[in-house]
């Protein structure tokens, strides 16, 4: 019960913060957005101050008063220092590689400092909500950065990819307790980072779906394979040397390469309707699995999902195009 209230409250706070924090690619921390409070260790320290102070009063020991006041001053100083450790630090979001749903997204954050300043032991962590989605309260690990010698440093901060699509990074929390650990200063920013999240691939017996799915049995030739000899053409810089026809070169016919091709029995079409009866997400997940499997082979494959048809092809770029299409399926306005 209590945990539910707490969860609810956290959600409220999160929503409030989301509404308040404006996304920007680059944020420079300043007094308006840096918050500071005594840390747990700070509370222990405050208890110690009280102890020393009471002893000073009761034994009327002048120097114990001095000690208590010194501790108070240190505490105040720690607040200044800790706050200053975040002040005027610039954060900017960098592009992120796509991941599959359910994986940790390594968001790249660039931290840079103003000249002549240094920042130590900065903890970066995504402000994730417990219970959001299916994942129970899991603290994502914080990443540590120091800006002592270098003017800038890039850090990876991980967030769980909870759904496919153009996934916005959660609010990023940067905090520090340096130098004394008595106070914690933090700021929450939105660096407007996004990550393309592919559907989570669901493995299954693929053969029954893809064999002969293309319809006809005409052998087609896909360009550039390495199984069968196809012919000879002029050398183009960048061709593998092992394909150079050295004999022809020796004959004085110039630099020529032997071309090999793969023979495929059919072009494979991945079709939305192949998974009739599954829900949209399950279809996408299975299609995703197919794409990954087919990408390992050399056979060209195409994709047909409602609204999108991508002609068969192969290679990494082609794979990514398909995955992207799967990831963004149904997302309004991002048909890129």
């Amino acid at each position: 019960m209590a945990s539910r209230i707490r969860e609810n409250w956290q959600r409220q706070v999160y929503r409030w913060m989301r509404g308040r924090i404006k996304p920007a690619n680059q944020v420079k921390l300043s007094q308006k957005i840096i918050y500071i409070l005594p840390s747990g260790s700070g509370l222990v320290f405050i208890t110690a101050i009280a102890l020393v102070f009471i002893a000073a009063i009761n034994y009327a020991v002048s120097l114990a008063f001095g000690l208590a006041f010194l501790m108070v001053s240190l505490f105040v100083l720690a607040i200044f220092y800790t706050w200053n450790n975040l002040n005027r630090l610039t954060l900017s979001g960098l592009p992120t590689q796509a991941v599959f749903c359910g994986e940790q997204i390594p968001f790249n954050v660039m931290l840079s400092r103003d000249p002549g300043r240094s920042h130590e032991t900065l903890e970066l962590q995504f402000h994730e909500l417990p219970g959001q989605g299916q994942q129970s309260a899991s603290h994502s690990h914080s990443s540590l950065v120091n800006l002592i010698d270098a003017d800038r440093d890039q850090v990876r901060v991980f967030a769980l990819a909870r759904r496919r699509g153009y996934y916005p990074a959660p609010l990023l929390r940067i905090s520090t307790t340096f130098p004394l650990g008595l106070a914690r200063a933090w700021s929450v920013v939105d660096l407007n980072m996004h990550c393309l999240v592919y559907p989570k691939p669901i493995p299954f017996q693929m053969e029954e779906f893809t064999s002969g799915a293309g319809g006809n049995d005409d052998s087609t030739i896909s360009r550039e394979g390495n199984e069968d000899f196809y012919g000879i053409r002029e050398y183009v810089p960048g061709d593998p040397l092992k394909q150079v026809a050295w004999k022809n070169l020796a004959k004085g016919q110039g630099m020529q390469v032997k071309e090999f091709v793969d023979y495929v029995d059919s072009r494979i079409w991945l079709d939305w309707d192949m998974f009739y009866g599954f829900s949209t997400e399950e279809r996408l997940s299975r299609l995703c699995y197919c794409v990954l499997q087919l990408a390992k082979r050399s056979a060209p494959y195409g994709l047909k999902i409602p609204g999108i048809e991508i002609a068969p092809g192969s290679g990494m770029d082609h794979r990514d195009r398909l995955l992207r299409a799967l990831a963004l399926y149904g997302e309004a306005g991002v048909q890129r």
């Binding site: 020991v61 002048s62 120097l63 000690l67 120091n146 002592i148 004394l180």
Partner: protein, 686 residues
């Protein structure tokens, strides 16, 4: 899964160092076995750190907690609930926590306790040495905290230490302000102050032979600074401590009052009408005394001393008592009257008390006294006769007198004839009383060493002395010092001069003796003591009274609002200043030289009443200036034209040319300035 917290290796070394440092001074006062446990815990932790031992198991922890509980119960039974048992308990808890700490929170508990341990060190001693030591400890503790919060591998111990030192120094201003301004609060509850170590100094019983042991100690008893005028002559420095009135044949004792020392009841008992018993003349001598801890309730003062502190009060015999034992260095102010007469009328009870001698024993001395009294007319003459007897017969002043047997007074007077001051005082008082002259023994200190570096006097334990007060008709109590009759050097030059050839004295105060002979050491000793004295006077004795006095001198009458205002005002002022030194708000925008020159011109013009308005363009400004001061027209036009040319046209690529332009602009500004200066003068005249 959360990875278990790992204490950074670099910081663990710092932790061990700071724990070692804060325990070390306590080990002097704690029972030896606690010290041993503390250091073995440190070692244990070190072994855990280096991987050779494991953390304590659950069973071990239970054993340890039970053990600590038992120890504390045992200690409270033997020592009582007091400082000593509390501090050893704290130490045990502290080191056990050290062994079992794993989490970051544990470390903070240990480090916070380190601060508390520093405080405990102050409970025992607040000397300059300890203060400096604790200051060093605090820097190490800060460094430990920094090391704990550092993750960088580049951050080495040296930079951590440097940062700690910087933070400690930056914390000082606010500390000082709070120390000066923060109101001192009266103790919340009475704490049992425990005697740490034995009592020192003069005791309230005197058996001949007692002070001789003090006479060998070159420890400091107290320091005195005279506030109005120069200090009295050495021979007049009789620091009166206690009056001993009861004599049982061997020991002189203080008259016991009905209740224990330092209670309110006793205080009530001491209240008497000062005016009726005292006649004083002349200006009082005002001075401040800083007494080393004695674990006794009485304090020392010259002649007839009137205490100025709230907690001090006078007894019927004009001794001065503190409301409680002096368990730490104690500073107090006194006002003394050199010319005084007390108790011109002696009460019968007092007369009876001060003429009483044991009924039996020392018959020879009694007979001698009565005979001598019969041969003179007045009591005063009788005093002189006895002193003459000491002077004219072979009496010796020494720290190593022969032991006295059965009839001690007889033995001393007619047989051994060698003794320290208490022998003479005791015998003198006995003889006086035997003849019916009211006499009492006074114990305290005599003499002092002058420290020229801070203009104060130092009184050592070997200055301990005993003398007498004789009640004479029409004069009241008059001080006589029979030791002076035997050894005038003791009174005029001090104990060192008197005992120059006394082997026992020299043996025991070797350092003092050496330092006395070599001026370099002597200077060093005096200088160090001067530092210590200043530290005590200015910092350690800064209490509520001093604070109130300081405030009253600076701000007049004290009200709560004033104190609060001062506290808040000063503290926030310092906080802002320190904050600004730490927090870097942003680099000040450095103006380019051209704009700087223009601003200089604007400020020059503002001095003749032509300040530039905000947002006013350079051309508008020029026109306005020219309209007001037509004589500047040409110069203003030249300057503004160039300024506009540089500032509002695309920047010149050629650097040399740009520099030349600035140079010309500067030249034109100087021309303008030259033209302006007479204008300023005329304006001032008109």
């Amino acid at each position: 899964m959360e990875v278990a917290y790992q204490i950074p290796r670099a910081s663990l070394q710092w932790i061990l160092l700071s724990v070692f440092l804060v325990i070390a001074p306590q080990s002097i006062y704690m029972p030896i076995w606690i010290t041993l446990i503390a250091f073995s815990c440190l070692l244990w932790r070190y072994l855990i750190f280096s991987g050779r031992l494991n953390y304590p198991s659950r069973l071990m922890r239970v054993v340890i907690v039970t053990f600590t509980l038992l120890v504390s119960i045992a200690q409270m039974r033997s020592l009582g609930v007091g400082l000593e048992s509390a501090s050893s308990l704290l130490t045990l808890g502290f080191v056990f926590k050290l062994v079992e700490m794993r989490e970051k929170r544990d470390i903070y508990v240990v480090m916070s306790l380190s601060f508390v341990m520093c405080m405990v060190a102050f409970l025992y001693s607040q000397s300059l040495l300890i203060s400096l030591y604790v200051a060093a400890c605090i820097v190490v503790i800060i460094a430990t905290l920094i090391a704990l919060n550092r993750s960088s591998l580049q951050a080495d111990a040296r930079s951590t230490g440097r940062m700690a030192l910087r933070m400690a120094l930056q914390a000082l201003p606010l500390t000082i302000v709070l120390f000066l301004v923060f109101p001192r609060i009266a103790p919340l509850w009475a704490v049992p102050v425990q005697a740490t170590g034995g009592t020192t100094g003069v005791t309230d019983e005197m058996t001949p032979g007692d002070l001789a042991s003090l006479g060998r100690s070159s420890e400091l008893a107290f320091r005195v600074q005279f506030e109005n005028g120069p200090p009295p002559l050495h021979q007049d420095l009789y620091w009166r401590g206690l009056v001993l009135e009861n004599f049982d044949g061997s020991t002189w004792m203080r008259r016991r009052y009905r209740s224990a020392y330092g209670t309110a009841a006793e205080r009530g008992n001491f209240q008497f009408n000062w005016e009726n018993r005292v006649l004083v003349q002349g200006e009082p001598l005002q001075y401040n005394v800083i007494l080393e801890p004695t674990q006794q309730p009485w304090v020392y003062g010259l002649h007839l001393a009137d205490p100025l502190n709230r907690n001090l009060f006078q007894s019927r015999n004009f001794e001065i008592y503190n409301n409680g034992l002096i368990s730490k260095r104690f500073s107090y102010d006194l006002r003394s009257y050199a010319n005084n007469q007390t108790d011109l009328v002696l009460l019968d009870s007092a007369r009876a008390r001060n003429t009483e001698i044991p009924q039996r024993g020392n018959e020879r001395s009694i007979e001698f006294a009565r005979e001598l009294r019969g041969s003179v007319n007045t009591d005063r003459d009788f005093v002189y006769a006895v002193l003459a007897h000491f002077r004219d017969n072979p009496f010796y002043y020494t720290l190593n007198p022969e032991l006295l047997r059965d009839n001690r007074i007889d033995d001393f007077l007619f047989n051994t004839r060698e003794g320290f001051c208490e022998h003479f005082a005791s015998t003198f008082a006995f003889l006086m009383r035997a003849a019916g002259v009211p006499t009492r023994v006074v114990v305290g200190y005599h003499g002092a060493e002058y420290n020229p570096y801070e203009d104060y006097m130092m009184v050592y334990q070997n200055n301990a002395h005993a003398w007498n007060e004789v009640w004479l008709e029409g004069e009241g109590w008059v001080r006589f010092d029979p030791t002076g009759a035997v050894s005038p050097e003791r009174i005029e030059l001090g104990v060192e001069a008197a005992l120059q050839d006394d082997l026992a004295f020299m043996e025991q105060s070797l350092f003092a003796a050496v330092s006395g002979r070599f001026s370099f050491f002597n200077t060093l000793r005096l200088r160090l003591d001067a530092l210590e004295y200043e530290w005590n006077r200015r910092v350690v004795s800064y209490d509520e009274e001093v604070q109130v006095e300081l405030f009253e001198r600076l701000f007049g009458e004290i009200t709560e609002q004033k104190v609060l205002l001062l506290l808040v005002g000063l503290a926030s002022l310092v906080m802002v200043a320190v904050g600004l030194s730490v927090v870097n708000i942003g680099p000040r925008r450095k103006l380019d030289p051209v704009t700087q020159l223009y601003q200089t011109l604007a400020s020059e013009l503002s001095r003749i009443g032509l300040a530039r308005k905000t947002g006013e363009g350079p051309l508008d400004y020029r026109d306005r200036v020219v309209a007001a001061r037509p004589e500047l027209a040409e110069l203003m036009h030249d300057f503004t034209a160039l300024y506009v040319a540089i500032n509002y046209k695309p920047p010149v690529q050629d650097e040399q040319l740009a520099r030349k332009q600035v140079k010309v602009l500067k030249q034109r500004l100087n021309n303008l300035r030259a033209a302006l200066s007479p204008l300023r003068g005329s304006r001032a005249q008109s």
